[in-house]
């Protein structure tokens, strides 16, 4: 079982308290009704699914219930870092070589 650090609770908690909520930093278009088919496809269906570092959303659903962002390595399952919802994608990852 993974340990995940909730950036709101500011502590590591067991994976059971969390729920994954898909890839992060995909903003809903402000005028979504006017989006083209292609743009809507990119927004709603297309995900990067990388082998390696992924930016994704998690929710501390059985804790503070907040959504936050996490950087995880999909190969090792290791969490590189977590940060609050709304914060920008970190420019530099701690200890990352990739």
């Amino acid at each position: 079982m993974l340990l995940i650090r909730c950036p709101y609770c500011e502590e590591e908690r067991p994976e059971l308290e969390f729920r994954n909520a898909g890839e992060a930093h995909i903003a809903r278009p402000t005028n979504i009704a006017a989006e083209s088919e292609d743009d809507f496809e990119k927004f709603f269906f297309i995900r990067s699914n990388p082998k390696g570092v992924i930016y994704e959303r998690w929710r501390h659903i059985h804790g503070c219930a907040r959504f936050f962002n996490a950087v995880r390595d999909t190969v090792t399952d290791k969490f590189v870092m977590t940060y609050k919802a709304g914060e920008p994608r970190p420019a530099k990852l701690p200890g990352a070589s990739k």
């Binding site: 005028n31 009704a33 919802a85």
Partner: protein, 1002 residues
């Protein structure tokens, strides 16, 4: 029975404490502290099982967890018949009953042994070849035959009556393995004051000190030192010592699963004791001290009972006081088997000869064997073992060929060298590295915060092991935040090794006589009956990766996971391929290290404790009325309320008719309820639902549809606006948690600028639906402060007031098509208000009704159930709910998805009603619909039935269905092909009762 192989003065067990046991119906005597294996050996019993594929007689290979052969069934009672127990691990208790497995009719005469003679049929890859053709034969012939003859024991046929405990634990340093290395590491870590857990799979700590008679530490015999050290550790508050505890899985972030065998070794474990306890440990640092496992020699008939690992023979002698034979032979490629010969010789056992593959080894241990008068043959090989049910001889030949000599023996002790136990290290995702010089894989690159010490790290010799382990234990404690052992707690000293045994390297792969070109049965993997020839054949047939060789031959795939066989198999494959071992690669080790019971994983989560049960406030009342309940998610819901003599059909018919004629009471408490509150509540509702909300007046309700962003229906429910800034939202019963999650997601991440709070109130409010023409008359006398006239409280409105003196949110709404109300009261008052309403209802001929009647009544009105009539690919338009989408809205979740080309195309499946041509026929939900029943199979399916019931009110069956272009097919005849014939149906509208909706106000 006379325990004639017990050597007086040898071993550590007290001869006074005897225990009787039976094996295959025969009674024997053992001693407390024995394993089943040592007790059987003390009685001269070597034959304990038949092999999996060839049914060859098998005995004990080892004295530990790596045992591939001696699998038995332990029987306590009818419900406790544990198969595949390793006799070398099972501790003896008085009255133990064990049976051999995989033999018929008896162990000594097994019909299945014909497989041994027919073995060419069963060579490598036989699973993939022999049973492939004809296809039908697999089901009818091969599989049943294989299952009958190749069983690994028999499962108990009753529920497991034992209980299993579980613990979570956190520690600074977790030490896995309680031999010299693990104990030294634990001592060093514990002395710093950090929290330490030390676990070992054996009943007693000491690891190889159990048999290494030459080890002395701190002036004591090695095993005695280990016991003293464990006593010291147990006395420390910061240390937990777990014996009989196997670390079976090493997971991410130093999360380690351990199983503690709590009571399998006891004669009569009381109910207060769990059978096993699962420990889920999170450790800051892990010290792996898992030791090494001795390898066997690969030669012809090396599986005969009596042929075993040298270290096993030493363990049986030095720990259990049992000689494994009276006239033993030794076959080795390294030094450690000499110690076995010496120990046995000193105990009075004749050692017929030592056969050593090496040409001219030298050393103290060899000199000592020679001085004891033991015959030693260098540069020779044992090319075959004689005997069948028990080894009777060994045939010796110069290793490069030449004259054979047959030596009579009753046991052969073998050692090809030692394989570091890197299983847990490998599970931690560490990468092993091949040490060319020592020809073994050792931990290379670490993936987690752990360290390997001693034999599992390829460290040779007791002194080096203790030094390394002690330093690593101290370092792990420091890394975990402990103080240095020279600090406050530091009063320990590194254990001093006074004497240890000599150590040398061994060999990998097939021994001479079983090499390339030979076809002898020289076993590599005993449990899966894989021979050296099989491995070569796999390579010849094109398996060039060790992962392929493994799967083709099944080498290392049995329950012992190749603890003794992997390295031999790899070496033979590498030799056949002409490649160096590291290029062929080692297979990945996976959890569990040794088999784990389902019980220990499941723990208490079984039966009623498997999943929480949710009951509504009226559950007790409904149960007392004789209601039949159904599970809806975790909820228990009253399904129907049968009166005396009624079956389900009769009860539901009566309930349905009574609701429309008089009234009915229904517990709707399980509906999800969310309060949406705040200055921006209406704006939020506008974004989350398709409907317009800004203009909904406080006190009014609206049926809302929630979409996902892709435009498909996600949930629905009636929403009441209690105040400009307060909405009482209802959701489907099953959808409540995900709707809340969905709302929170948008509120927190997409619309965080909205000032809104969401609160789940599902369990705060009990909901009593009162439906039917008499509904108002039933409620009115109990209500205070609410004008219930049609003018003041029209359909789809909500008022706050009091009922029976307690607060209520009274909704005028209907899921039946009748005049209806849903009385919300705080859940604690739910039962009392229900009973008051019931008393009033009785005056008007009301019935209580359950979920089945609720379903029929709503289907009669064409009201959909999300998740039954929709399946995640249905748009509001498909469901005929276009009217609920705000046409002037510029944004809501799903607005763009709903406009996708495919979602507005013609020919989509649409919800319609179906009437069977024969009104008595009730369609099956899920049944497929076709246009032309005479077309060829596979027919083109144009839709399916989503809801179908007998409607007593309509006097016929009714159904809802999703049908391609359904609304353009009104009046068309379609067909529902079923196994017993095709059913004709007519496409109709979705409303079967009161099409104009007059009864809502009637």
């Amino acid at each position: 029975m006379n325990a004639s192989f017990r050597i007086s003065g040898a071993g550590r067990l007290s001869q006074a404490k005897t225990a009787s046991f039976s094996f295959d119906g025969k009674s024997y005597l053992g001693i407390e502290g024995d394993t089943l294996a040592s007790a059987l050996l003390a009685n001269g019993v070597h034959l304990v099982g038949r092999s999996f594929k060839y049914h060859r007689p098998r005995g004990f290979l080892s004295a530990g967890a790596e045992e591939p052969n001696a699998l038995v069934q332990i029987v306590r009672d009818d419900a406790r018949k544990t198969p595949n127990v390793r006799a070398t691990v099972q501790e003896l208790y008085d009255g133990l009953t064990a049976n051999s497995q995989n033999r018929w009719p008896s162990l000594a005469f097994d019909v299945g042994a014909v497989n041994d003679i027919a073995s060419p049929m069963f060579s490598a890859g036989f699973y993939y070849k022999t049973f492939m053709w004809p296809k039908s034969a697999w089901l009818n012939f091969y599989e049943p035959k294989i299952r009958a003859t190749a069983g690994l024991g028999v499962s108990p046929d009753r529920p497991d009556p034992d209980h299993y405990a579980a613990r979570y634990a956190h520690c600074d340093v977790l030490v896995l393995g309680g031999g010299a290395a693990g104990i030294a590491a634990a001592l060093a870590a514990a002395e710093t004051g950090v929290r330490v857990i030390l676990a070992d799979e054996q009943a007693e700590f000491g690891g190889s000190l159990r048999f290494e008679s030459g080890a002395r530490i701190d002036g004591e015999d090695g095993f005695a030192w280990a016991q003293a050290a464990i006593a010291k550790l147990k006395a420390m508050d910061n240390v937990r010592v777990l014996s009989r505890t196997t670390a079976f899985g090493y997971y991410a972030q130093n999360f380690v699963g351990l199983v503690e065998r709590v009571s399998d070794h006891l004669k009569s474990p009381g109910r207060e004791l769990a059978r096993e306890r699962l420990w889920q440990v999170r450790a800051k640092r892990v010290v792996l001290a898992t030791g090494a496992i001795e390898r066997h020699m690969v030669f012809a008939n090396n599986d005969r009972p009596g042929v075993m690992l040298a270290s096993a023979a030493r363990t049986y002698l030095n720990h259990y006081g049992v000689a494994v034979g009276r006239n033993v032979g030794v076959y080795t490629a390294n030094d450690s088997a000499y110690a076995a010969a010496i120990d046995l010789r000193k105990a009075g056992v004749n050692v017929a000869a030592i056969v050593d593959l090496r040409d001219n080894p030298s050393g103290a241990v060899i000199d000592e064997a020679r001085s004891l008068g033991i015959e030693i043959n260098f540069g020779r090989a044992v090319v075959s073992a004689g005997g069948k049910l028990r080894v009777s001889s060994m045939t010796v030949q110069p290793k490069n060929g030449g004259g054979e000599r047959r030596i009579a023996v009753d046991a052969i002790l073998m050692s090809a060298g030692w394989t570091p136990s890197v299983h847990l290290f490998s599970q931690s995702r560490g990468k092993v590295a091949f040490n060319e010089e020592a020809r073994r894989f050792v931990p290379g690159t670490y993936a987690q915060d752990c360290v390997s010490v001693g034999a599992c790290n390829g460290t040779d010799g007791l002194e080096a092991t203790v030094d390394e382990a002690y330093a690593a234990g101290a370092q792990a404690a420091r890394d975990a935040g402990g103080k240095d052992s020279s600090g406050k707690m530091g009063k320990g000293a590194k254990p001093k090794v006074d004497a240890s045994e000599s150590w040398s390297r061994g060999m990998l792969g097939a021994a001479p006589g079983a090499g390339p070109g030979t076809t002898v049965k020289a076993f590599v993997d005993f449990q899966n009956d894989v021979t050296a020839k099989d491995i070569r054949q796999a390579v010849h047939e094109g398996m060039h990766s060790i992962e392929h060789v493994k799967r083709f031959t099944t080498n290392g795939m049995a329950t012992d996971q190749g603890k003794t066989s992997n390295m031999h198999g790899l070496a033979i494959a590498a030799e056949t391929l002409g490649k160096p071992i590291p290029q062929v690669g080692l297979t990945t080790f996976r959890a569990p290290y040794t088999p784990v019971t389902f019980g220990s994983i499941v723990g208490h989560a079984r039966g009623a404790l498997f999943d929480p049960t949710r009951r509504t406030a009226t559950h007790g009342w409904a149960a007392a009325q004789g209601a039949v309940f159904e599970d809806v998610g975790q909820w228990k819901r009253a399904w129907y309320f049968p009166k005396a003599g009624e079956d389900m059909h009769a009860a539901v018919n009566r309930e349905c008719v009574t609701v429309r004629k008089a009234a009915g009471l229904f517990d709707a408490s399980t509906l999800g309820k969310i309060e949406v509150v705040g200055p921006d509540a209406a704006k939020f509702m506008e974004l989350l639902y398709t409907n317009p909300w800004e203009k909904l007046e406080p006190g009014r309700c609206r049926y809302g549809i929630m979409l996902r962003e892709d435009g498909f229906i996600y949930d629905d429910g009636v929403v009441g606006r209690l105040a400009p800034d307060r909405f009482h939202v209802t959701t489907t019963t099953g959808g409540a948690p995900r709707v809340m999650h969905h709302m929170e997601d948008y509120l927190q991440t997409e619309f965080p600028h909205l000032n809104v709070w969401l609160t789940s109130i599902t369990e705060q409010w009990a909901v009593i639906a009162v439906q039917g023409p008499s509904a108002r008359k039933i409620i009115e006398p109990l209500v205070e402060g609410i004008d219930m006239s049609d003018e003041a409280l029209p359909h789809m409105s909500v008022r706050e007031g009091k009922i029976c003196g307690v607060p209520t949110r009274l909704f005028r709404m209907s899921f039946t098509g009748e005049r209806g109300f849903e009385v919300n009261v705080p859940a604690d008052y739910g039962e009392a208000v229900w009973e008051a309403l019931w008393t009033e209802g009785q005056k008007h001929g009301a019935t209580a009704y359950g979920t089945e009647t609720m379903h029929v009544l709503r289907a009669e009105k064409g009201y959909i159930i999300v998740g039954q009539d929709t399946d995640g690919t249905v748009t509001p338009n498909d469901a005929g709910l276009d009217w609920a989408v705000g046409k002037k809205k510029t944004d809501f979740v799903g607005i763009r998805g709903m406009m996708r080309a495919d979602l507005v195309a013609n020919g989509r499946k649409q919800l319609v009603g179906l009437k069977t041509k024969d009104p008595k026929v009730v369609l099956e939900e899920g049944a497929q619909i076709v246009e032309d029943p005479k077309q060829a199979i596979p027919m083109k399916m144009i839709g399916h039935v989503t809801s179908s019931y007998w409607s007593e009110n309509c006097g016929r069956s009714i159904a809802l269905a999703l049908v391609a272009g359904g609304r353009d097919r009104m009046g068309q005849t379609l067909y529902v092909p079923m196994p017993n014939g095709t059913i004709e149906v007519e496409v109709t509208g979705m409303v079967f009762v009161d099409e104009k909706g007059e009864r809502l106000n009637g």
